[in-house]
Subunit: 169 residues, 8 copies
C-alpha cells in the first residue's frame, strides 16, 4: 500500500526511539515508510523528499532529530503537508536543545512538536493517526479503540494497586 | 458556515495573542469559532466541548494557555480530533512552564505544540490549515499561495537591505 | 477505617516513588487508599474520583505525576479538598517539566506542590498529616514525635562524624 | 477575632504581591494577620513566631520570599502547622531561584508551594481556606461559592468572545 | 570591491542588531554585503546563496537568526566556507532557544557560534576579521590596533573611576 | 589610608551596580579602591593587578563581571588573596551566564560567589568586611551593629504592616 | 588544636563529597572540625552552633547542603564569621536548586558560594585557607606551595600529552 | 611539519573528548599539536602560549574546557588568531555552565563556540579545517570529500532502514 506517513530521522542512531512511531502506526494499520534524511548531511535529499512527498501520496511527515534539530523545520519549509517534530536526546542537554530547535519555529512554518524522546515518538504516530482519521472512519474507530484500551489498562492497574494497599494505614 | 476549527483559550486575557490564529484562519477562509474554556475553572465545559466537538463538525482544536497549561491536554483526553497547543506567557517563567506543560504529554495523548506566544498562535492557525488542506484542494492552493507570499516579502526585504548596504566596507 | 488520604498517581509505574507517601502515612497511623487515575487516560474516572472524594470521607488528596503533569490540577478543579502535588521524574527533563506543570496553577486552583520525586512523596505524606493533625491531637502528637525522631537521628550522626574527624587537621 | 492564618513575608517590599493572599482570605471571611519576618534578618523572630503560632490559635502559615527563599522552610522547621510557600520574583532569575529554594525541601519538612508571584499569593490564600474548610462547613460553602463564581465569570467571557467572532472565517 | 563577508539574517527585523557586525567590518575596511535569507521562508534562496558563496568570492558567512534558528546550520550544510552564527532574541525565551539551535550542531557541520544578540553581532564581525587576517597582514594590523584601542579605553575608564573613588572608605 | 579592599569591574558600565559594594564598605569605614580591569580587554593589567595586590596591602578583592564572566577567576589565578565574585546582568540571559562563569571554578581556584546583581554587590562588601573583621575587633563591632540595624528595620516594618492589617479578615 | 574551620553538612550522606574540604584543610595543616547540622531537622542546633562559633575560636564555617539548601544562609544569619556555601547534588535538579538556594542571598547576609559538588568542597577548603592565610604567613606559604604544585602537575601532563601527539597530523 | 592548529585543553582528563578534534585534523592531513594549558592553574603558560602562537606558525587555536570555562576566552585575549571554544561536561550542570562561559564573550573578543562535548570537539576540528581551507585548495578538496562521505553514509543508512521497514503498516 502507498505509505501515508513518512517517519524520517536525522541519523540511523535515532531508530531505537523513532521505532515507537512505527509501532503505533503499524498497530493502527496505517501504511508508513521510514527514511534517514539529514538537514545537514543530506540537505538536498531532505529538500527533494519534502517537495515530492505530497505527490507520492504521503499525507503526514514525522521527523525526529536531536541537538540543533533542524530537520522538521527544514521539511516544513519545503512542503505544505503537516510535519510532526520529535525532539530527541542526543547531547548532554537532555533534549532541551532539540525541543527549542523544533518547537520555536518562526510564524509561517509550524512544526507540530510532541514530547522529547520515546513519549514523543509514540505520540507522533498517534497524532498522525488522528489527522488521517479525519477522513478515514475505519481508522477513527481504531484510534478510539486504542484510547479505550489505554483506559481499561489504567483501570485494571488501579484495581491492582488499590487491592494491594487495601486497609492501608 | 459550520466552523471547522475551534480556537479555545483558558482566559479572555489570552485573546490578544490567540487572535493571531483567528487572523490566519480568516485570511485563508477557514471557518472557525472562538471560546474561553478553562481546564480548571470550567472543567465540565471543557469536557463537554471536547466530547461534542467532532459531532458538531469541528475538525481541529487550537488551545492556548499559560502557566500549568493543562487545557490542550485536557481536550486531547476527551476527543480524538487533532489538538494544537499554544503555550502562552502568563507567569514570570516566560512561557517555559506552559511549554513544558503543553508538549510533554504522556504517550497516548499527543498535543501538537507550536511556539510560545504570538509566533505559536499564528503557526497554530497555519497548522490547522495544513491539516484541513489534506482534504480540501482549494484550501491547499490558498496555503501554497500564502507561503509564496511570505517568500516574496522576504526577497523584497533582502533587496532593500542589500541596496542599503551596497558598497559596504 | 475510612481512608482520610488518597494517594493517586498517573501510572502504576509511579508506585515505587509514591509508596514513600504511603510509608509515612502508615507510620503515622493515618488511614489511606491508593489509586491509579490518569488525567489523560481516564479523565472521567479522575473527575468522578475528585467529585466524590469529600463525600466518601477523604480529607486530603495526594497526586503524583510526571511530564505534563496535569493530574493534581485536574483533581483540584473538581474538588475543594486540599490537593498535594508531587512532580515526578518521567522524562529526560529531570522533573522540571512536572514541577512547572504542577506548581504554576492559575489563580483559583491551588496545588500544594512538594519536592520532585522521593523527597516530595515523603513530604506529601507529612503535609497531609500536618493538615489532618489540625483537628486530631493524637496525630499531632505523632507528628511531633516524628520530628523529634529526625532531630535525634541527625544529632547522633553528627556525633559519629565529629568523632571520626576529631583532631582533624 | 483570633487570626487563623498568618501571612508572613521576608520584606515589606513583598507586600504588593502578598496582599493578594490577604484579599482572598478577607473575601472568604477568614481572620488573618500579616507580619514581616526574615529568615536572615530576624531569624530569632522567625523562630519565635513559628514556635508560638499554634499556641496563639494560628492554624496555617503563608510565607512569601524571593531569592534564596528560606523563610517558609525555616518556619516549617519550627512548627508542625501546615506552611504554604509563595516564591517571589526578587532577583533577575524571575523567581526560579525562589521556587527551587521553596519547593525542594528535604524529606521531613514539607512546604506546600504554590505558583510564583501574584498567582501564588492568591492561591496561597485559597489553599489555606481549603484546609480550614475541612473543619468549617460555613467556610466550605463560601469556598464552593467562590469556585462557582469563577466558573460563571469564565462562561460569561466565553459568550462574549464567541459573539465577537461569530461567523468568523 | 568584492565582498569578502556576507552578513545574512533571517528577517529584516533582525537588522538593528546585525548592523553591529556591519559596523565592525566597515571600521576594519573589510568589504561585505548584507542579505535577508530565511531557512524557512526562502530555503531555496538560502541554498543557492550558500552554494554560490565561495564562487562569488565570499570567504566568511555571518548568519543571525532567532527562535528555532536554523539559518546558520542550513548555510553550513551547503558550503564549506566558515559560517559564524549569531543567536538572536526573537521570542520570550531570551535567545536561549536560538543559542541551542545554533551551537548544538551535529558532528560534520560546525557553526562558529558567538554570544546572543548585540555582543554576538559585534563579535561575529571581529571573528570574520580574525579569519581573513590570517592571509591579509594589513587587516591583521588593523585588528591589532582595534584591540589596543579597546585596552586604552578600558585603562582610561579605570583611571576615571579610580579618581572618583580616591580616598574611598 | 591604604585600601584593604579592591572593587574591580570588567567595564565602567558595571559601576552603577558595583557601587553598592563601595557604599557598604564606606559605611563600615573599610578603606577601599575602585578599578576597571578586564580579563579580556586588559588581561595584562588584570594579571599585574592581582600579582601586586597583596604587596600593596590589599587583603580582599571584589570582582564584578557579566556574560562569560572570567574576571574573578582570572584574578584568583594570579593571587592567593580571597577573591569575591559578583555575577552581573549584562546579556539577555539574566545573569545566569555570569553566575555559571563565576561560581563553577575548577578545584584549586575558589571564587567566593555572591548573588547576581545589586544584592550581590552589597553582599560582596559585607563578605569582605566579615573577612577583615576576623582580625579587626572594631570592624567586627561595626558589622554586628549593621546586622542589628537590619533586624531593627525589619521589626519596625513588621509592626507597620501588622497595624495596617490589624483586624483583617 | 582548636579548630579554626568548621565543616558542617545537612546530612551524613553528604560526607563523601564534603570530605574533599577536610582533605584540603588537612593537607594545609589547618585544624578543623566536622559536624552534621540541619537547618530543618535540627534548627536550634544550627542556631546554637553559629552563635557559639566565634566564641569557640572558629574563624570560618563551610556549609554543604542540597535541594532547598538553607544551611549556609541560616548559619550566616546567626554569626558574623564568613560562611562558605557548597551546593550539593541531592535531587534530580543536578544541584541547580542548591546553587540558587545558596548563592541568591538577600542583601545583608552573604554566603561565599563555591562550585556544585566535589569541585566546590575542595574549593571551600582552599577559600577558607586563603582567608586564614591573611593573618598566618606560614599558612600563606603552604597555600602558595599548593598552587605551585598544581601548576607543576599541569605542566607535566602537558608535556606528556604533547609528546604523545608529537608529529600529529 | 609545523603545526597549523593547536588543540589546547584545561586538564588532561579532557583528552578522551578533545581527541575527536585530533582525529578529524589527522584524517584531513592538517598538522596539529596538543597541549594542556589551564587558564587558572597555569595562567602564565596560557598567556605565553597565546602570545607566541602566531609567531610559531599556528593559525587556529582550539580550546576545550569545562565548568567556568575561561580558557578559550583567555587565549582570545592574548592573540588575534581565531580561537575555537569547545564547552565540556565537567560538572553536574551538563556543560551548560561551560557553554555560557565560552560563548557569552563580551564584544571585542570572539570565541567561535561549537557544540558541547564530543560533537563539539569533532566540529572544532572541522571548523579549523574550513578556515585553513580558505587558503589551501588541497585541504578544501579534502574537506569537500569528507562532506560527500558523510552524505553517502547517510544515504546508505537510509536505504538500509527503508528496506527494513518496507511494506510497513
Amino acid at each position: 500500500m502507498t505509505p501515508q506517513v513518512a517517519i524520517v530521522m536525522g541519523s540511523a542512531s535515532d531508530l531505537p526511539v523513532m521505532e515507537k512511531a512505527a509501532e503505533v502506526l503499524g498497530s493502527l494499520l496505517v501504511p508508513f515508510e521510514v527514511r534517514v534524511v539529514s538537514a545537514h548531511r543530506t540537505p538536498d535529499d531532505a529538500r527533494k523528499f519534502a517537495r515530492e512527498a505530497a505527490g507520492r501520496g504521503l499525507r503526514v511527515i514525522i521527523a525526529g532529530a536531536g541537538g540543533a534539530a533542524a530537520l522538521a523545520g527544514t521539511l516544513a519549509a519545503h512542503t505544505d503537508l503537516p510535519v510532526i517534530g520529535v525532539p530527541l536526546v542526543a547531547t548532554p542537554l537532555a533534549g532541551l536543545d532539540a525541543l527549542c530547535a523544533t518547537v520555536q519555529m518562526p510564524p509561517g512554518f509550524p512544526v507540530a512538536t510532541v514530547a522529547i524522546g520515546e513519549w514523543g515518538a509514540t505520540n507522533a504516530g498517534l497524532l498522525a493517526a488522528r489527522i488521517l482519521a479525519l477522513s478515514d472512519p475505519d481508522l477513527a474507530a481504531r484510534v478510539a479503540a486504542h484510547r479505550r484500551g489505554m483506559a481499561e489498562k489504567t483501570r485494571k492497574s488501579s484495581r491492582d494497586v488499590a487491592r494491594r494497599f487495601a486497609g492501608g494505614r
